[in-house]
């Protein structure tokens, strides 16, 4: 025991020496005026990694594309990706780590509202801006924190858009609502249900499920009730197999869903089952926004795959962050977090998901919503999906 301890102490002493010689900071501070870092927080491992990685890659693409201006002013611009594992406690620990790194000026994240809410409490301590590409939970902005922004729409609005379209354009009389038991999916589905009922659509069933593979037992009652429309509040990974299995079992209802379905993987998974179905989205269709098409192509070229649902929003989030940073560093001075947060509030940015301006709460001012139709079975041709309808709805005021 004794010798073991002495050895342990020796190892310590040596590492202290080494660590003192090689602190992490030795790698930094090579650029003339310092480094500006943009962090992403999203799940990079575990079951939700695909979406989380989309956020990271979207931000990465934007940073690499737009950092030129800042670099000309002598700043080094870097991306620091964090893996929040979709777990609130990990997200908060990361957040503390982020605020301790004084070079980080903006956070792009999170995927899960459950992680974003407690983490943003931490960012608030130092007024560090968080631009969220994916958190649709109303609570995120309803708290009125000055440092929290999102560029995606809210659950309540998207559900309403879906119901509007189902009634006005699809003219359905009955609907069956399925959701994935996440804050996002259930939120959208509840708002869809409430608004659809208001508009006179009969809701034949409202069902949540965490199931990812086997939807047989859920489909059977749907088939028996034969609704005009099935609304799926959730993400394509779950909706794809569901739609596919439903069609295979002979369900003939039309399909509709929110922007979680906006991925070429939806057709890759479900094939012809989803051809002709509708989905609502905040991301502009490629036909309207040429930048969007360019983004999809660049993303594909760089990362070898089609963008995931929230990648475009992450791209815009990072682009907004850089725009704000450029505004702050005009004089050539190093940016501060307070200045960046204030600057984001004033940014007006036309990106691939439309023109974004923030209101006092941090919601996008007048979000544009699109309804799109899946054009064909080929995942490569996802960008051919056509806009069917366009709605412009502002975020509602805080409910008291």
């Amino acid at each position: 025991m004794n010798r073991y301890l002495v050895r342990l102490a020796l190892v310590f002493a040596v590492t202290v020496g080494l660590a003192a010689l090689l602190p992490a900071s030795s790698l930094e501070a090579q650029a003339s005026k310092g480094t500006i870092k943009i962090a992403t927080q999203s799940p990079l491992s575990g079951g939700q990694a695909a979406l989380g990685e989309g956020i990271k890659l979207g931000a990465q693409l934007a940073i690499e594309k737009f950092r030129g201006g800042l670099e000309k002013r002598g700043f080094k611009v870097e991306l620091v990706p964090f893996d929040d594992q979709a777990k609130p406690d990990v997200g908060v620990a990361n957040a503390k780590n982020i605020i301790a790194d004084k070079d980080i000026m903006v956070v792009v994240g999170h995927l899960n509202s459950g992680v974003a809410i407690p983490s943003s409490e931490v960012y608030k301590e130092v007024n560090l801006a968080m631009v969220s590409p994916a958190n649709t939970n109303p609570v995120i902005t309803d708290r009125g924190y000055p440092n929290v922004f999102r560029i995606c729409g809210r659950d309540d609005v998207q559900g309403v858009v879906g119901a509007e379209f189902a009634k006005g354009t699809m003219k359905v009389k009955s609907a069956y609502v399925i959701h994935d038991k996440t804050a996002y999916g259930q939120g959208v589905a509840e708002f869809f249900k409430a608004d659809a009922e208001k508009k006179g659509i009969k809701i034949l069933g409202f069902e949540g499920t965490e199931e990812k593979s086997n939807f047989d037992p859920i489909i059977t009652p749907i088939k028996a009730k034969n609704p005009d429309l099935i609304y799926f509040g959730g993400i394509y990974e779950q909706a794809g197999p569901f739609f596919k299995q439903a069609r295979e079992k002979g369900v003939k209802s039309k399909f509709l869903g929110p922007d979680g379905l906006d991925s070429s993987d939806l057709v890759r998974i479900a094939g012809k089952a989803v051809v002709g179905m509708y989905y609502t989205s905040v991301a502009g269709p490629v036909s309207v926004y040429p930048q969007a098409k360019q983004f999809a192509e660049e993303y594909k070229k760089k990362f070898g795959k089609n963008p995931e649902p929230f990648a475009a929003q992450a791209y815009d989030s990072a682009a907004i962050a850089i725009k704000a940073l450029e505004a702050v560093t005009k004089t050539g001075k190093a940016p501060t977090r307070d200045a960046v947060t204030a600057a984001i509030r004033d940014v007006r940015h036309t990106g691939i998901t439309g023109t974004v301006e923030f209101d006092a709460k941090g919601d996008p001012k007048k979000a544009l919503y699109f309804v799109l139709q899946v054009a064909g079975e080929n995942p490569e041709k996802w960008s051919d999906n056509k806009e069917v309808k366009r709605l412009s709805i502002a975020a509602p005021p805080v409910k008291k």
Partner: protein, 397 residues
């Protein structure tokens, strides 16, 4: 003598190093390592106590001031230490394999979340959230709720052994999580997947910042929990638990009441989780069912076994190692690689900046953690600090 000097020196040196290089993960690890050294070194008891108290009560908050992240780590370590100690009673001492331990944590967390936020108004009309001062009362409520739930779970499973017990507790854990995820209708109790926010934070004396306040609160609870654990372990209660673990039937034949002892184990173990749940919910301000998955239970179990089953210092070290590994070492490592990548460092003629995104180190933290678990089990199956059977002072016959 040498060791005493060494221990003092190490604590001082590493603390100085952390203050000098507040962003270096390696240095902070050294600080943690020095505490372990102090614990293990053969130094007078007063010196050990003094050094540990100095480090935890003074140095840690001061260092936390340099880098709030460290304080967060320390707080989370504390929370998991309490959980691991609770599970250690059930699994390590009484030998009852519980795979749904996080359920008790959830029960405690939701108790304060519901009443410490405006959410309870949905059920009771108005008057909520309770005044923040109630938080301290809810520590007791969480403790009792945890204990009660533990006993409740214990009752039906008394006859079950080994893996049958494991699967039922696993099921119980899932039931609690699924309930939390679904009890937003017909009556909205938990607000389902959307979670509950904002949860009130307790009032803090002397305007101590919240991060420090929570650190001290968690530290206080951990100290109490360790004390309770040690007293239970070193009494007829603890001996009865161990006897049940060794041979249930013989224990009963020697006069150990199985039902009472097992329920006591479940209750005690669960109460620690309940109390920490309350702290957790206040600290996070927001909770939803995602914090209480089966994987969390597995994580706590891994801490207990990694540290050394049935050993109190083992559970403490196990919880620290796993938490620090997950939140710090693996993260720090991937951040470091990321820095190398951004700096375009060339290794063996290969520019790291060209590293394809598929090989992003941040994605493989869990994989490395898995490998570490396997290696630890192979090369040190008894755990980091296994139980040392204490030689007892014999009474005079």
């Amino acid at each position: 003598m040498i060791q005493a000097a060494l221990a003092t020196g190490l604590v001082g040196l590493s603390a100085w190093a952390v203050a000098t290089f507040p962003r270096s993960v390696v240095v902070f690890l050294l600080f943690q390592g020095s505490l372990l050294f102090v614990y293990l070194a053969r130094i007078p008891r007063w010196l050990r106590t003094a050094l540990l108290a100095l480090a935890l009560l003074v140095l840690m908050p001061v260092l936390g001031h340099f880098n709030g992240y460290y304080l967060e780590i320390a707080t989370q370590v504390g929370i998991f230490v309490a959980l691991a100690l609770g599970l250690n009673i059930v699994v390590g001492l009484a030998g009852l394999l519980d795979l749904g331990y996080v359920a008790f944590f959830a029960v405690g967390a939701y108790s304060w979340a519901i009443f410490g936020s405006p959410h309870a108004n949905i059920m009771f009309g108005g008057g909520f959230p309770l005044a923040p001062g109630w938080f301290y009362a809810f520590l007791l409520v969480g403790l009792l709720l945890g204990a009660g739930t533990g006993v409740l779970l214990g009752l039906p499973v008394l006859r079950l052994r080994g893996d049958y017990l494991a699967i039922v507790t696993l099921g119980f854990g899932e039931v609690i999580r699924v309930l939390a995820n679904n009890l937003d209708k017909p009556v909205n109790i938990t607000n389902g997947p959307k979670g509950i926010t904002p949860i009130s934070r307790p009032p803090v004396p002397f305007d101590v910042p919240y991060a420090e306040a929570f650190y001290f609160l968690v530290l206080l609870i951990v100290v109490v929990v360790v004390l309770v654990n040690r007293r239970l372990e070193d009494s007829h209660v603890g001996r009865a638990w161990e006897a049940i673990r060794e041979d249930e039937l013989a224990a009963q034949a020697m006069g150990v009441p199985l039902v009472r002892s097992k329920l006591l184990a479940f209750g005690c173990g669960a109460s620690f989780a309940g109390i920490m749940g309350v702290v957790f919910s206040a600290k996070q301000v927001f909770i939803n069912p995602e914090s209480f998955t089966f994987l969390e239970s597995i994580g706590v179990l891994a801490m207990v076994i990694l540290g050394g089953m049935g050993s109190i210092p083992g559970a403490v070290v196990g919880a620290t190692v796993v938490t620090v590994l997950n939140l710090q070492v693996l993260k720090g490592f991937s951040l470091w690689l990321n820095e190398l990548k951004n700096a375009g460092v060339v290794v063996l003629g290969y520019n790291l900046a060209d590293l394809p995104t598929q090989l992003e180190p941040a994605k493989y933290e869990r994989m490395i953690f898995g490998a570490i678990l396997v290696l630890m089990m192979i090369f040190r199956p008894q755990g980091i600090l296994p139980v040392r059977r204490r030689a007892r002072e014999l009474g005079t016959p």
